[in-house]
Point group: C2
Chain length 99, copies 2
Amino acid sequence: MYGLIGHIRATPGDRDSLAEVLLNGARGMPGCLSYVVARDSEDVDALWVTEVWDSSESHQASRSLASVQEAIAAGRPLIEGFVARHEVEPLGGVGLSRR
Amino acid sequence: MYGLIGHIRATPGDRDSLAEVLLNGARGMPGCLSYVVARDSEDVDALWVTEVWDSSESHQASRSLASVQEAIAAGRPLIEGFVARHEVEPLGGVGLSRR
């Protein structure tokens, strides 16, 4: 499995709009086992996005999906920057639903 | 929803043993919508544990479960320390399976 843990800062006041864009874009991505968008509890402009994929290839391929392309286009102006981005290797757990 | 993103360092060489303890302890926890254990790709002793709960109360209550008590007892000697621990507010996404 392949995983990403991203800590993203939205442009001021745009966090919830960005979260909506990300959640809409994440529907129906082949090989995506988990994709969760969460509000940071300390930074009012920051989100955490945690992703689990069956492989890094599936993650890479998702970037070509029309829905993801649209989300990237809509989301980019709402992103101030990445606080951190970690590639991880998920081993298992609860909530890894194959789609 | 209530979420936790933990970055844990195992005692040297014990990462996979710790991961197994955590994964075994995480089965059947009421209110747990997602619980993923992942290897850090840069630190050979570090794990990421990402959790989503229906409420902080469910997370708190899980600490009383016998399976979790056993995991805490078995896991504690394998933990060197927490690199970081973030409380978050999950908004939604893929792979949030109600148990």
